[in-house]
């Protein structure tokens, strides 16, 4: 089954929503594909304590004539102009004239002894679990890693009644002076920071501090934290640990969009190296929600042919790039974090491949061929970013191993007729679902 769109958008986080709403307002037939149960992406997950911007944009999305594929994931790009999506009941081809990649970012996970124990999660990972119904009141939580997400997560969990035992930021304190200076042009972020600080009042924030080991039998019981030459053990129920964000580049890489320095290359109108293919949000640079919304709007306008309006917003975007650079600088990983993984520590969690075995190899490709690292169901989404840091393997070579299907698929999806049978039907003949999700 095939559907045709003027503009197809992949990802229903802030960037994708902004692009979809903007393009629909311009009168385009818009499709929006997202693999989560609800729109909002990772940052606007669940209705709990949504910021005003989230409520506003989600309301606009609900009121716009957009065909939504919620709970569908893109598994292949068989040719330019077609994406193949898989849902719970099978597979379908989505045909587009122009598209917007708004695939968002994931957390970078770094291996240390015990990191595979149940209840050791990402910082955003634990937050997502709590928003997904995990009771956290009264639980002892250590939040660790790097980046502003740590404070956001700690604040949210504290409001839900968690006992935040410690917040450990790997960056040294001195790095925060230039970072705070970059916030001067971002009043919304300053207010957010103050709110986080108030919510987590009482939790000790340690800088230059990170977990060196997680202990427990079948489940996490303790975390050992190191700060300089000091080391201490904390009893806890959850360790929420993420080392900032890495963009989801699998689809842009499969489509052969030019990727530079770990991010999708775009022009001032968010267009990638492929004409008619736009990219917005974290895949173009980790810049946070306001930047994602702005880029989404620019992409939506540009893809709709509204170049003048897009240009105006593009000037606003360029003024925000200072914050993106400051965020990159403050979250730069301390090289000592490379020493956390011991020879026996697993790096690839799908195939249980240890750091010692992977270290013997000169490249990602060689390690894959000899150890099966990165060849399990996650296809290197976790161990790829870790290996890049641990072993200095080039991110370009890791991305060059991306192959369809982008995710493990049902056998019936592999059997999908690999041809475009969509001919003759006009756009009007396709049932238009307004604000209704296709199951």
């Amino acid at each position: 089954m095939t559907e045709r769109f003027d503009i197809l958008i992949v990802g229903a986080g802030p960037a994708g929503i902004a692009a979809a709403v903007t393009a629909a307002a311009a009168g385009k037939r818009v499709g929006l594909v997202d693999d989560n149960p609800a729109a909002g992406g990772q940052i606007w997950r669940s209705v709990d304590a949504q910021p005003v911007a989230a409520r506003t944009w989600l309301a606009k999305l609900a009121a716009s004539p957009i065909v939504r594929f919620q709970g569908w994931r893109i598994v292949d790009s068989p040719s330019l102009g077609v994406l193949r999506a898989e849902g719970n009941r099978g597979c379908r081809d989505l045909v587009y004239n122009q598209m917007v990649l708004a695939t968002g970012a994931r957390e970078r996970f770094l291996p240390f002894p015990g990191w595979t124990l149940p209840n050791v999660m990402g910082a955003g990972g634990l937050d997502a679990m709590v928003r997904g119904g995990l009771p956290i009141a009264g639980k002892r939580v250590v939040v660790a890693g790097t980046g502003p997400l740590l404070l956001a997560v700690a604040a949210h969990l504290a409001r839900r009644g968690a006992k935040i035992v410690a917040i450990c930021e790997q960056a040294p304190l001195r790095r925060f002076v230039p970072f705070l200076r970059s916030l001067l042009g971002e009043p919304a972020k300053v207010m957010q920071g103050i709110e986080y600080a108030l919510s987590t009042f009482g939790a000790k924030i340690s800088t230059g501090c990170w977990p060196v080991a997680a202990g427990g039998g079948e489940v996490l019981e303790t975390v050992t934290l190191r700060q300089g030459k000091w080391q201490r053990e904390e009893r806890c129920d959850y360790l929420a640990c993420g080392f900032h964000l890495v963009p989801n580049l699998e689809l842009p890489a499969l489509m052969k969009c030019r990727i530079h320095d770990g991010f999708v290359e775009v022009d001032h109108l968010q267009e990638t190296s492929i004409s008619g293919v736009f990219c917005a949000g974290e895949p173009t640079g980790i810049g946070g929600v306001e930047m994602a919304l702005l880029e989404g709007e620019i992409a939506g306008l540009a893809a709709s042919g509204k170049v003048n309006e897009a240009n105006k917003l593009a000037r606003r975007r360029s003024r925000r790039l200072g914050f993106v650079r400051a965020l990159t600088a403050v979250t730069e990983l301390d090289p000592r974090l490379k020493e956390l993984a011991e020879d026996a520590t697993l790096v690839c969690r799908c195939e249980d491949v240890s750091c010692g075995r992977m270290r013997e190899h000169a490249s990602w490709r060689e390690a894959k061929l000899h150890t099966r690292c990165g060849m399990g169901p996650c296809q290197g989404r976790v161990c790829g970013a870790a290996s890049e840091f641990l072993f200095g393997w080039d991110s370009g070579s890791i991305l060059s191993s991306v192959r369809p299907p982008l995710y493990p698929v049902q056998v019936s999806s592999l059997d999908h007729p690999d041809k475009l049978t969509y001919q003759g039907d006009s756009i009007e003949q396709i049932s238009m679902l307004t604000s209704k999700e296709i199951e």
Partner: protein
């Protein structure tokens, strides 16, 4: 039709009751068992919470390898961990 106040499902045959909107991964965590065993037998639970890491995968109503963090609990659902 109003949503039921609580949703009942089975995790490895054990009845669990959760609020509407709860993900299956959370139901498994509430049940207090690992979502899966790794290829060398280690217990594993959710890591990323966003459908990337595949650590929370389990069998749902006979469909294996479902990413439980991206699926909501439904009345009468049967979840099986390996």
């Amino acid at each position: 039709m109003s949503k039921p106040a609580r949703i009942r499902l089975l995790v490895n045959g054990v009845p669990i009751t959760v609020a509407p909107g709860t993900t299956v991964a959370c139901a498994i965590l509430i049940a207090g068992i690992p979502a899966r065993r790794s290829v060398t037998g280690e217990p594993r639970g959710p890591l990323c919470g966003m459908g990337i890491c595949f650590e929370c995968r389990a069998t749902i109503d006979d469909a294996p390898h479902q990413r439980t963090c991206q699926l909501l609990c439904a009345e009468g659902m049967e979840v099986g961990t390996s």
